[in-house]
Point group: C2
Chain length 418, copies 2
Amino acid sequence: MTRPRVVIAGAGFAGLTCARALKRAPVDVLLVDRNNYHLFTPLLYQVASAVLDPGEIARPVRQLIRPLRNADFLLANVTGADFEQHRLLTDHGPLAYDYLVLASGSRSDYFGNASLAKHAFGLKDLDEGLAVRNRVLMRFEEARWTDDREQRRTLLTFAVVGGGPTGVEMAGALAELTRLVLSKDYRDLDLGLVRVVLLEAAGFLLGTFAEPLREAARRSLEKKGVEVLLKAKVADVAAGSIRLVDGHEVPASTVIWTAGVRASELGSALGFSLGRQARVDVLPTLQVTGHPEVFAIGDLAGPVGDGSPLPMLIPVAMQEGRHVGVTIKDLLRGYGATNFRYKDPGIMATIGRNSAVAQLGPVRLTGFLGWLMWLFVHLINVISFRSRIVVLVNWAWDYFFYDRPIRLIVRAADDRTD
Amino acid sequence: MTRPRVVIAGAGFAGLTCARALKRAPVDVLLVDRNNYHLFTPLLYQVASAVLDPGEIARPVRQLIRPLRNADFLLANVTGADFEQHRLLTDHGPLAYDYLVLASGSRSDYFGNASLAKHAFGLKDLDEGLAVRNRVLMRFEEARWTDDREQRRTLLTFAVVGGGPTGVEMAGALAELTRLVLSKDYRDLDLGLVRVVLLEAAGFLLGTFAEPLREAARRSLEKKGVEVLLKAKVADVAAGSIRLVDGHEVPASTVIWTAGVRASELGSALGFSLGRQARVDVLPTLQVTGHPEVFAIGDLAGPVGDGSPLPMLIPVAMQEGRHVGVTIKDLLRGYGATNFRYKDPGIMATIGRNSAVAQLGPVRLTGFLGWLMWLFVHLINVISFRSRIVVLVNWAWDYFFYDRPIRLIVRAADDRTD
């Protein structure tokens, strides 16, 4: 007798946690992802700011699922689904499923603004992180050999749009890269010309944090040399400048966009009813309406029942993944699906290498203490054991020397055509 | 009074060593390279076999020249030279020089065989190393989900052409990657189908080594599962197969070409008289005939005087770089240029993670002892101090666990167009 097959689309935190929750279940699990790796997204900004190498924040999916005897992996793009026949369609052919878990995450949202999509860098996946790193390093090289002072200033202005955790972390890391590392690499360049500008449409940074923490983050960024522009809503981006809605222009030759995120295209490709940010509407059980054997979790999943949508955070993704794993086991035993309930462990954002804000229930930490908490939580969450040691050694090295040799402009040669 | 300017084209072992030799000279040094990093080429095969990440075998040039107060760096492609006006031409404009040192290295040589150039991977620079890594990992993914056994076998056949040190090292590393790592990642794949084939046109491997060492290398490779095909001269390569001159076909969907190397195109671009392998003819002083202020060193430099050409090896490159640095100081003081004389420190090749052959004057080591010697020499030669520690830690880890999480198929997103 063949065992029921669970197909999980997406090997991020939601999908991987779901696969793990099914470890001892009498099912065959197939994880499908368009990349062969699981990405530790909280550290992506460190790849983008030339501090970590890809191998330090990503793990091959196959390595991670080795302990799961009932799991396998397929590198493929999901293109659609045939819900009647219980088949997920991919560019590697259709995959029959008994249970389908959709966990394809989110991507940058440029709100239909073509100039943004063309000139700004997203910061959602590893390829984008490497592209930002190449761009930033190239701009310094170009600025070194540019005689025109205005042009040099534009080349050395890095704009980060969006004052959420990703934007705050990226801006802090760029300021430190310049101040602590590139200042030594470019002795003859006037680094007073470097500007790291963080633009936020609201009147404050880190809108999901308590007010004192928002302020602490802003002060901490400014101390590191980041110009924080609040109430600065971007209208459009051209090569070399950003125009704000109020008419102001910010000359900047590199724009990193963290101000908009929407669910992956999978929801609309499958014809689901979508909520805000293109997230798939789900029942309180995380089942998709009308398809009791189909679940949506993580950033892809929208409002749970009639509640408001949960934030696009790793703890949400992991808890939802675990819940669906348990639910599938319940269903196999003939029980019903139970409702998902989120346990909020708190939120954090780091600002450079020695400062962070953390809000854990009633506990609020800032500065170095916040950073230690951030370090602790991220280390215990980094998925493989060795990674923890390596990342810790590298962080310790950075902390004391801030000079890892990662500032390489590398591009894999095009694949041979055959 | 402006100081004389030394322009060095190429930041490999030759160019970088020359810049270092000029550290205290009353000159301004400008290193020019098309990459912003110096590559530790002896470990490139470890990137290609998914053991090391680029940041572990490459260093930003700017970081390396920090101790050199009189040196700067330009990221540019050299396009030509105006020897009358003493200008090196680049895609970033002309560079005036008083002394010019050409050290642009070598590249893969397909001997005009279009099928090779199209279907085979070179293994000379970091981009190529990453491309090989992506290709090898993709082939395993494809093979896992291919039902046709013949096709699976072809997907899992990796041919390395050329039995010199690079070919031997690459074949050994691929065999170990399969046997020690991928066997765990692909439990359901019949890894008996995997073939790593090393093809060499001569009747022996490692032609520059003494006969007993050649034999030891062959046995060591075969013990690791590499099929060594001697007297196998490649006629052409198609998608999925290699045809030999004797008519035999080897079905292989990945071909890595290490059998031909020629000097960089710079020699012909500058209109020099070229010797074998397109290397620039130089005087015994390493000066280019007719241009006493122009030097060629490293892989680019051909027969020294009327001697036979020196091998394309790092010790040659470094010794030539040092010699030219000293010569330029001599010329500045009004002395003449002296002849270069190569001191041979010996040659080595590693076969996987615990075996190597080393030939150091009368001393010949094989197996584990050879590998310890290889490790020692490479560790003391890895250019930056931290790199040594990190590489050592990683090697120790590999040695015991052989499971670094580098098996990522990563491609930097295209740069934004502006």
